[in-house]
Amino acid sequence: MTVRADFLPPGLLEHLGGLELVARTVVRGFQAGIHRSPLRGAGEDFAKHRDYQQGDDVRYLDWKLYARTDRLYVREFEERSNLQAYLVVDASASMEYAGAGGVSKLRYASYLAAALAHLMIGAGDAVGLAAFGAEPRLLLAPKARKGHLHDLMLNLERLRPGGTAGAADILDRLGTSMRRGGRVIVVSDLLEEHGGEALVAAAGRLSARGDEVIVLRVLTPEESGEAAPDAGLFFDPEQPRREVPSTPRGDAGYASRVAAYYASLADRLRERAVEYVPVSTAEPVEQALVAWINRRRG
């Protein structure tokens, strides 16, 4: 059953204040919209019985055993080890672009990352943070404690766009620093050199060693061609000297070229078992998450 959710547009989230509040708000909307969260904790394994003592939670009483033995026993469980996850946020110069929506891609990516961190830490997973832009940076090691969420938000708030670095380097560094079987979520516009070949290769290497790699592609409607700008002299923020006089709105090939680039990238990522999730900044953050999770659940 799908629960109807009212999603908040990114422009409104911008006015909510701190990223922590934004994350809570997004997660609330997210939880109301999904069928069943795959990120909820996988449960706990049974370890042994022991005698009931005053003060024990009665929920853990084994009533069947009580019926057979007429004695009270409580079940004890062995806690499962946390999943290690890394949120990798693109903070390159191109992420500063906001389009007409008013919220930059970096800000939108921060919303996504904050919401995911909130969800995963709530599920007992250890979450770390990495970013790339001016240079690849491992900002926070994965931790599962609640207080870690605050550090995550603080680091996300401090991210400033700049630089032209690609995602490949930081992904390779993650491969050496985190244990196998972890989860890496990349939030980026994926505007890489050479068609993103290095990114695809690095993500493929992580995937090959058993990590779950998810790529959230963030793009504005102006960039995707849905709301292409009018005539102007355009330049790539990561290559400001190269100016192109053009009229994107009247250029029918522009949107198709953008779509072809990302389609190619998505195909190559999927070939390497990397999940590719396109997201538009015109879409409410929680709506994007719900759509993604529901799509994942089938």
Partner: protein
């Protein structure tokens, strides 16, 4: 209806408004520079290297054109004029010392009231009360009560200044918004002490029409006395041993009874010893030479119209000398005006003679010329006949004529307390029409000036243009 005081500005504004239009049409500028991370997917379009600003700048263009037109319109002195009918009056009421004494002030107030109040007591115009300064009474305050209070008041003690009253005319006319024509009247007793230099140009500047000069009666009425001493007669010739002796003539005498009273027992005078000889009727041919000799010896010979033909060689007069029955009022250079002359003799002052009196129409009425040590004066009318002998100023007319050469010889020295002479009065009256179309009067307030409002609108448009231009610049 909106009228423009300076429509040339409007035309200039219209032409100026074409300038931004032309600039907007021909101006091209490089396209705006904008970031786009996906610029690598753009196909270069050389046509967008330059961009014509027409589509997005129409509002700015309209605002700029409107700004220029409004600014020009503000300078073109726009005035909204409501429909107006009728003739309004502006009465300059002298409240100085000149109208004090007797019932002059009451007469002045009555004269003003007659011109400014309609049959139902409604205001017919504005009033200017002046002495050395002026107060404008707008039509809304011109009421019967006002004139009642003026009657109860007394004139000021100081001298009046016509300049003060005249200067207030534009302000008074400015309040006449419901009239399409205006007349101006001046109620005063004309005196030199109210005169000031440059009054003529001032009068012409403030009022293009004629001023109705309402003169109050002179206080000297009836002051003449009979002084029958030392006046002698010989036939139609009258003698006196002093010039002022002619002032004995009593006002009110009928023309035909004008006569010189002779003391009893006086011997027949000799012409040679006379100081003043008045020749009222035709004289024998041989007497002309005797009169000339008397003048050479120092006498003043005053010749009147009936004698003109017989003394043609003696009198300072030239022309046809035709006697007609026009008559009229006579202005003497020394001041007095005497009306009621029965006849006049055509012609002009002879060469070397001075005009010492004029008719109301400005033509010469008397002339004087030195002859030896004496003087010959010619008055182009019959001094003994007509209603002029009933005029209060008649004695002073005779006195002035008798002093004809003194008047022409003596340097101009005006008695400030004397009445204005004909020339000064003519200056006060002016030569234009009595009623003038209001729209031709400088400073006429028959409308609502819109210049300030239009300028304010232009300011609002300028601010709006700035706002939009700034917004557009930011958008780019």
């Amino acid at each position: 209806m909106i009228t423009f005081g300076a429509p040339a500005y409007l035309l200039a504004g219209g032409i100026a408004a074409l300038v931004p239009l032309a600039l907007h049409l021909i101006r091209r500028r490089p396209p705006s520079r904008a970031p786009l991370p996906t610029a690598r997917f753009l196909s270069p379009d050389p046509r967008t290297s330059v961009r014509v600003g027409r589509p997005t700048d129409l509002l700015l263009l309209a605002l700029r054109m409107l700004l220029l037109v409004l600014t020009a319109a503000a300078f073109s002195r726009p005035v909204w004029r409501p429909a107006a009918r009728g003739t309004a009056s502006v009465v300059l009421l002298d409240r100085g010392a000149a109208v004090a004494g007797g019932d002059a002030w009451l007469r002045a107030v009555a004269a003003a009231r007659q011109r400014l109040l309609g049959p139902r007591g409604e205001a017919l115009g504005a009033m200017v009360l002046f002495d050395s300064a002026a107060t404008v009474v707008p039509p809304s305050h011109v009421t019967p009560a006002l004139f009642d209070s003026l009657k109860a008041a007394r004139p000021a003690a100081g001298s009046s200044r016509y300049a003060a009253g005249l200067r207030a005319i534009p302000a008074a006319i400015g309040g006449l918004r419901e009239a399409d024509s205006v007349r101006v009247a001046l109620v005063t007793r004309p005196r030199w002490n109210a005169w000031s230099a440059g009054l003529g140009p001032l009068r012409d500047a403030v009022w293009p029409g004629a001023v109705d000069l309402v003169e109050l009666p002179d206080l000297e009425t009836g002051d003449a006395e009979i002084v029958p001493d030392n006046v002698k007669a010989k036939g139609a010739i009258y003698f006196a041993d002093a010039l002022e002796r002619l002032s004995f003539v009593k006002p009110g005498l009928e023309a035909t009874r004008w006569e010189v009273l002779l003391p009893t027992g006086t011997a027949e005078p000799a012409l040679d010893s006379a100081r003043l000889i008045v020749v009222g009727r035709a004289v024998p041919a041989g007497l002309a030479a005797a009169l000339g000799r008397a003048a050479q010896a120092g006498a003043t010979v005053l010749v009147t119209a009936p004698v003109a033909a017989s003394l043609r060689g003696l009198i300072p007069w030239a022309g046809a000398m035709r006697v007609d029955s026009v008559g009229g009022g006579m202005w003497l250079a020394s001041g007095p005006h005497v009306s009621g002359a029965a006849t006049r003799v055509s012609g002009d002052a002879a060469r070397g003679a001075s005009v010492i009196a004029s008719w109301d129409d400005g033509r010469p009425a008397a002339a004087a010329r030195r002859l030896g040590r004496g003087c010959v004066v010619f008055a182009a009318t019959e001094l003994e006949r007509g209603e002029m002998t009933l005029d209060a100023a008649y004695p002073r007319l005779l006195d002035g004529l008798a002093r004809g050469c003194e008047a022409s010889d003596a340097p101009s020295s005006i008695d400030r307390n004397a009445a204005l002479d004909a020339g000064a009065r003519a200056v006060l009256r002016g030569t234009g029409p009595g009623v003038v179309a209001a729209r031709t009067v400088p400073g006429w307030g028959g409308g609502v000036p819109l210049g300030r409002w239009v300028l304010a609108a232009a300011l609002v448009v300028a601010l709006t243009e700035t706002f939009f231009a700034y917004g557009r610049k930011r958008a780019v």
